[in-house]
């Protein structure tokens, strides 16, 4: 009996562990290191209508227990993702969650409509929260009404369930979550990176060519946990949690906070085998903690002791 299989809208997962968008490309590189079939799902790199080169380099900077990135949504563009990357990924028995980005509403809608028709795309992750692009991106992620509207438009055209990826760079995460729920979101994915900066002590200038970048890694975990804790109590949407996960214990902490699945981003760079190791270690940890199934952990930090775990899908 598996302790790890979970069901979320559009997603039947053998386990709830997936690489986070932007930290795993389209899977080709990591496929040289291990069998991608081990993964619960794969969140692929953000896709935009056109090919994008992204920001100038340097694009990454290290911080304490974290890193900043300002890739700027570099990607081969919608057509190439559909004609080359997704077919290549279809050799694996792993559901793909396509990260959808754009500068204007129409662009999101076009990417969502087309990419959701790919047979191995089982869900969309609506990236309304990328801090590294000049237009769009974060604006959609900070004004609830705008986010709701965008969610609705994307839902109208998408063939698969839509998870909205929330930005932590806002005053009121709960209000935002409720807005996208009202807009028809099927789930949430949280959190994206926090906007940060690092300045080179020698040059006096920001290390990133883009100046600011998105902070990820263990440093931001407490913020992710708090936000998931708050949001999971007031919406009915399942949450794919992320932000600094690096171990099986971290996965449990995210579930306790209210997540129903998790994504691992930055930790892939530190240990490229981190996803399969977590998947391997989870059953034993669950056993030790006395759970028959990982879904029992969801929301445990705020549920009454007696209250039973429930599957949300």
């Amino acid at each position: 009996m598996s302790r790890l299989n979970v069901e979320l809208p559009g997603l039947k997962l053998k386990n709830p562990i997936m690489p986070a968008s932007g930290c795993f490309g389209f899977g080709r590189e990591y496929s040289q290191l291990y069998d991608l079939n081990l993964l619960g799902a794969i969140m692929i790199k953000a896709t935009t209508v056109e090919t994008r080169f992204g920001n100038p380099t340097p694009r990454v900077a290290e911080t304490h227990a974290g890193m900043l990135n300002a890739i700027g949504l570099q990607n081969p563009g919608l057509d190439k993702v559909i004609s080359e990357e997704l077919p290549w990924l279809s050799q694996y028995d792993v559901p793909i969650i396509a990260n959808v980005a754009g500068s204007v509403e129409e662009e999101y809608v076009e990417v969502a409509r087309k990419i959701s028709q790919s047979p191995n795309v089982h869900a969309l992750e609506l990236n309304i929260s990328c801090p590294n692009v000049k237009t769009g991106g974060i604006a959609f992620g900070t004004i609830p009404e705008v986010a709701k509207q965008l969610t609705r438009k994307v839902k109208e055209v998408s063939e698969v369930p839509v998870y909205v990826k929330l930005s932590p760079n806002i005053t009121n995460i709960v209000e935002m979550a409720k807005a996208v729920e009202a807009g028809g979101a099927d789930g949430l994915s949280m959190i994206n990176t926090l906007v940060g900066m690092k300045i080179d002590i020698k040059t006096g200038k920001p290390i990133l060519a883009n100046r600011t970048g998105g902070l990820s890694g263990p440093a931001i975990k407490p913020i992710a946990i708090r936000m998931i804790y708050e949001v999971s109590q007031v919406t009915n949407l399942p949450i794919i949690g992320m932000g600094g996960i690096q171990s099986a214990e971290d996965v449990i902490e995210f579930f306790y906070a209210g997540a129903s699945a998790v994504a691992v981003g930055t930790a892939n760079f530190v240990d490229p085998f981190v996803c399969p190791s977590i998947i391997e270690q989870l059953p034993e940890l669950l056993e030790k903690l006395g759970f028959d199934h990982i879904s029992e952990c969801t929301g445990r930090s705020w549920k009454q002791n007696g209250q039973l775990a429930y599957h949300r899908s």
């Binding site: 080709r28 340097p58 990135n69 890739i71 490229p272």
Partner: protein, 257 residues
């Protein structure tokens, strides 16, 4: 095949001011394809510093399964690395990237190897392999000052070796580019600071030039798009190369630097 391996340290010593030579045992040495490939080192079991550090493979011994790296102690990561004693293990991901194409120069031709500072190490294995092949090698190695000079003797074993220092405290005073002008050669292999690479690329656009580039990295294997550079001859400006997986060595005309 890229492997992540806990590698035992065979020897580790400071060979010049803040310059360390680190030799480890690694199964993946068998997988090394060319001089100029690199590895990605995790310097701690913890999460601060978080990222791995890219360091070139300076030489290797397939029989002993050993590889040697030479690095400069700079910031937090290399500081920590420098404290690891012989016998300890270090987490290394490698071999990564594509190295110098030894096949591009023929027996009897003259290859000029130009290194600047911490760009010198990967040229050492290259020099060895070119020499074994019968290529005539010349070296121009640039350093800040006398205390930073390393491997002059080692390179001299394979061919003429000119050292320059910025302050003139050792060898020729000036930049490597000043010296190269007066040398004859068929082909250049170079690694070092970007301004140096740029100067060489511009000056010798008529020759075969291979550059080894550096960039700040995330994954080191081509997945995160941190380390891209634009390609030459691209009117749209959209095409790119990943330094970690397409490079770090490129033909000069392939890349915009």
């Amino acid at each position: 095949m890229i492997t992540k391996e806990m590698c035992q340290i065979v020897s580790h010593k400071e060979i010049a001011a803040d310059i360390f030579k680190l030799t480890v045992e690694a199964e993946f040495v068998g997988q090394i394809k060319a001089p100029g490939q690199f590895v990605h080192i995790r310097v701690t079991n913890g999460w601060d510093p978080l990222l791995r550090r890219p360091i070139s493979i300076s030489s290797f011994d397939k029989k002993k399964n050993q590889l040697t790296m030479i690095y400069r102690r700079e910031g937090k990561g290399t500081q920590l690395l420098s404290h690891l004693d012989t016998g300890k293990v270090v987490d290394i991901l490698g071999p990564l990237g594509n190295g110098f194409p030894v096949g591009e120069v023929d027996k009897g031709q003259i290859a000029l190897l130009v290194g600047g500072g911490i760009g010198v190490p990967p040229l050492y294995e290259l020099s060895k392999q070119l020499t074994e092949k019968g290529v005539i090698v010349k070296h121009v190695l640039g350093f800040q000052s006398e205390s930073h000079v390393f491997y002059k003797k080692e390179f001299s074993n394979y061919g003429e070796t000119i050292v320059t220092t910025v302050d003139g405290s050792y060898g020729v005073k000036g930049l490597v580019t000043d010296v190269i002008k007066n040398l004859s050669f068929d082909c250049i292999f170079t690694c070092g600071p970007t301004p140096m690479l740029r100067a060489i690329k511009q000056e010798y656009s008529n020759k075969k030039v291979f550059l080894s580039l550096e960039e700040r990295m995330g994954c080191g294997i081509g997945a995160c798009f941190a380390c891209v550079c634009k390609t030459g001859n691209d009117p749209l400006g959209n095409s790119y190369k990943k330094i970690c997986s397409d490079g770090p060595v490129f033909r000069a005309e392939e890349v915009l630097i």
